[in-house]
Symmetry: D3
Subunit: 288 residues, 6 copies
């Protein structure tokens, strides 16, 4: 039960992208193609990966004309090079006008899903979950978070508005503005929060853990901890909060980090450095 | 004279991104920081690169409050790891609320500028220019094209609306719908075009070049040609049109491709597979 | 540290409201007033209450011209009948054009803050907190939730997106679609959730509490429970989750409900049935 | 022939409200319900009232999925407690996602229609009509005015742009800026008005009536007049203009005010202090 | 006291127009001008006319940069060929980017004001007023109506929403759907209208006047009447309603039509067929 | 293969125009027509012309209800006075609500197409093409350019962003900021341009032609040249660039200008001074 982006959100971003790519029409097709030319096409993988973005692809095609799109693979599915992912048929004008926009969406999102799946695979057999960050592309967060889920990852908070995450700067400011010990200061600060607000605090050193846990929090983030310290942190928290590892995460280190027993590893690279998966539209060769 | 994105376009996308990242406020800062806390901060490079996005960064800060931002490096400038790129001062609430959005923009765009600069460096000493493609992030084309220019590249057409670029599918369709030879068919198709429309045609084989040139075009794109065929193509065109190489381009092959004498090499990877440059905000350590 | 609505959100709704109230100008002032007439005015309370909406009021005035607004009372402050809440001066055209819109906002929001304060007063001396619901006016949720905070209440989840709240229909559907016991089914359902997602479940009967708590939740909502059952529920939960009372809440019953030891009482009436507080603009009498 | 709000206006506000209530999806239904679960439901009245808002309710349901909605009562119809107002069937996800938004609209608007109908009932047998004011909820004026009509009331001017209504401040300003008697000043001020502009002037005292009528106006508003003065005012106007009573109107005083022979009574409370009518969605009990 | 369009309405349409004219920048100025080049310029009339649009012109300039604009003539003023209407100074980039958009607005609106002034001049010495129609350019009604006022004309209703104007098709439909005489039918139809709604009815024949006046209307429109019939119509109405002449109006016939004593003549041509007034920006000659 | 405006662009502008013309409904039809009245109607030409705008007309009708529209003539077709251009049937409410907006679009655009066709007719038998300018109505450029094509004209650049057109002010500024001869300066300025950017330069005198051609440009604009100088200019350019005549163009002079051999004549009047073509909706006479 993988929550898909809202159909209206999809329509809105697809229309924006189509307008960006053809503000006053597709000069080439208008000049060269007969108005009523029908065609078929295939969305083909040129390398392996995990699919994400079928609804955006389909929507881009539908917005430009009556194009029928039939996906053979679905979001979250793995595919191999040369797999046919979808079959299309409809007006050549519509398909060619939507082609680049449709591909831009599905190639990027599949890139994120594919990369996430690699991180997730490294944690197989542990209870550790891979989560994303707010390092997403401006305007695409809703979709990039969905791609992370398609790859088997979990989402962190959506935005600054839906969970509290205190970092060192916040704690330093709190300390200088209130007079008491950290636990008391935090408790006071958490007073006016909705009971539904998840509270997470980042720590840099092991001895910050105890006073922060005492303030009543939900997740503790161990930032840039060594493997030994992560292990010590997990022991110290002892189930009283979720433990999240962050900072300096790479695919190579994931398995070792997961072995420390942390609940969550947050990975900025899932969304801030994405290689598009190579997908393309193949048209039938004209019988000469 | 590097054309910067319009200030209104910048404001619009920055507001969208800030809204995406804080639809109903920054829970953490509101709970933990005094309302009137002032702070300073530095934008610091954690690796080398080429800067792009200073106006977006500044705009994100300004939209959240009276934050003064002073950039020490500017768009197109190279920087080294540990360089201070900008100095900030203003309300802590404003800086922390804008931090992630401001970084998301400048890290991505600097990633594009940095990558472009690497491709451009490989063509040093030749007349070949690196150009981008329409494989941009939906919603960010205006800014990603600017990043390409900051890296020393040129832009290809902006969209389907501002230049004609006929590919094999267009030519195949033209052939089957009109009865005459390719040159005549193309000439007829180009009839109703504005005189300001640049006409580019993609070819897969050397013997397509002559009939297409005869139709009166501005640029010929040699798609997936071998080095020898590129060389032969350039010779054949002989200055009658720009020659663009495309397809299967990688940083490793750029210099050899440029050596064939092509005018332009278009590189999708400039924008479709971007690694964000590692930049961060450093705050002054609290004097304990 | 009361989180205020974002300035851009304020500007957006104020402009919308001003456009709704004067799509093509203020016929009356244009016909009757000299263009350069300056005036002063006072925002006066005609009954007692708790203030909310000063920024919206000020913004409405500023959007129509250079009107100086000086609030003597502030959001969350109590006021009495005849209190002067703010002093204004500026172009008569601007003040009269913004008057109705500015009052519509501040009267409604002060109505919510005032009503909330009455509920909160009834819980004085208990640990019980008053929280709002999603029964807000379409388009004004951000502001009405702020008004609840101004009145001393807490907010419940903002929307369907930022916390999980399972009601009887959800549980019934879950039961029929999965084969196992309730605890197991819930655990499975909660699998893909972000660790920051607050989980709340509504129960109608005491014996549902145990299996639901066992699934690992954050808040349990006791819906339409008698006073005795609320007391029993609180005892049974024994601090393993927040306890929220809901359904059939009225100002008269609040104190008794709070006495049962519940952590939260949610009150739809805070926002679904609001009486505007009577406030008005007084202009200086012309010296005849 | 009751003018219904435009379908596009309905769609626009419904989409806004759905987005406000689920900016990135309905976490609960996604986690707990099978994607293809179908259900039926009934919109049931929990108290008596007058219906308003069926199109908004239906639109909210349609926007979230293929939900069939069949209203048994219609806008302007009275209903009793326990009446079934509408029957629904469709995807459980869609109905639950739209439920709160759909109810928020129809409960509020039915609250306005119900209250208006009470005022209108008090004027039965007289020629006096109940009219609304501009004291509407920002963003909902179009719909709240419709609710007033559903309750049997009439609308006053929509906005500052579509009729002239001069109050004491306008008259005072006019007096000080022009040199002549009131009648002459008003005539001069009305010069540039469109012939379609309705002209209404508010008076505080009986002796203002004659000079104002002499300027050629359409409606005279008697503000905060005693019953005797209202009666005197109606006699004095003698059919030369509509007479509107305003200020300090309550349900208890309506009948007496109407007995004075005024044409119109304007009632701010119709829209500024609305109690939502208690309506709810009932789902079929699961056969256990 | 000429009501000027709202500053927000001006900003909105100016930004739209600037975006339409430079969606991704001004290629020419960026390539050819130094970034910091300052210049002055003059807005000069190349033929005589009546000015309208100074705020739009100024706003277009301000939106592109810190351009100082000083108008020497103002909206509604007449000017002669060669008159300097405004002086500008500021960044050359800004002035050149806004030039075409600024001129497009002021040339068109001055065209309308100038044409209106010609019609108005023909009615000099009569009580007849020239009014516009709804035959305006889509998107520009607010501004074109203002231009009519600048030329000395009055406005008719703004839209279908702010006044009732029944034409022959409405009357025919009314007749077939209701059983009674025209007066009774109209009275019934007018029942639910706001008292502020102006009621106008169009007639084709003299004998329709009496039954329509009897229904209680504000204006009667005599459509395509001969001069004699207009005169007869005015006599028959005898001050019981405004009389408007419409249909087949031309500048040549205005004076004769006005001589019949009609109150209003509505002229579609004021806005549906506009010749832009020839205005241009003159830059100082470079001293060679 | 005449590129039609995008369906989304059409929908957007039509909705805007309908909202402008009926922000809160059509008072007249609501008051006078039965809700379910069906009618038919014909769009009839009252003078001859060239049609443009059928999709806008149809869209306006469709947006207001299920109106069937069948065009008998199509965009670019000529028609005579009294020709029936389209047949409509559907709800009377819908047709009457859309009537004015639908006509406003098609009358204006047909006015442009008709005027363009007259200019084009004057160039019959020559190779000279008529092109438009950026002197279009703000907000309607997409549609007015289409109307020019319907009349047989070509389009010039769409905006400042899609082609370079250097005028005298640009050249003067270039000269003063760079030190070298014109050819060298221009070459330097053109350096960073996309290869797809069309370069056009305006000249006032014959001796500017040679150095400008030497810089490598695509089109040369001869501004306000005498017939002899145009002829001399064409001879001098000798096919090395397109030649465009501009300035002081009128219908009377077109044939003579075309006789000079210029490739293009740009005509601002095509869009800056448009007379709407007289079209109207005829409804069946009620059988009395």
């Amino acid at each position: 039960m993988l929550m898909k982006p809202d159909q209206h959100a999809i329509k809105t971003i697809v229309r924006m992208a189509l307008f960006e790519d053809a503000p006053w029409g597709d000069l080439t097709s208008e000049a060269l193609l007969p108005a009523d030319l029908q065609t078929s096409a295939q969305l083909v993988a040129r390398e392996e990966g995990v699919l994400c973005g079928e609804d955006l692809f389909t929507s881009a095609m539908s917005e430009t004309g009556p194009v029928a799109v039939n996906f053979l693979k679905h979001d979250s599915d793995s595919f191999s090079a040369a797999d046919v992912l979808a079959q299309l048929s409809g007006p050549a004008h519509s398909i060619l006008k939507a082609e680049r926009v449709a591909l831009n969406f599905v190639q990027r999102l599949s890139g994120i899903a594919t990369l996430t799946a690699k991180y997730v695979a490294e944690t197989a057999g542990t209870k550790t979950r891979i989560v994303d960050t707010r390092k997403t592309t401006p305007g695409l967060r809703l979709f990039e978070r969905y791609a992370v889920r398609c790859g088997g990852g979990l989402n962190h908070r959506f935005s600054l508005s839906d969970a509290l995450l205190a970092k060192d700067n916040h704690l330093a400011a709190l300390r200088s503005s209130r007079g008491e010990d950290l636990t008391t200061d935090l408790r006071a600060a958490f007073q006016g929060l909705s009971h539904t607000t998840h509270i997470e605090v980042e720590v840099d050193e092991l001895d910050q853990i105890e006073p922060i846990l005492a303030a009543g929090i939900d997740t503790i983030m161990l930032d840039n901890f060594s493997i030994e310290d992560l292990r010590a942190g997990v022991r110290q928290v002892a189930g009283r909060a979720h433990v999240e590892a962050s900072g300096g995460i790479s695919l190579e280190r994931i398995r070792e980090i997961a072995s420390t027993g942390v609940d969550l590893i947050s990975v900025g690279a899932l969304t801030h450095s994405v290689r598009s998966i190579d997908l393309g539209l193949d048209f039938p060769k004209p019988s000469s």
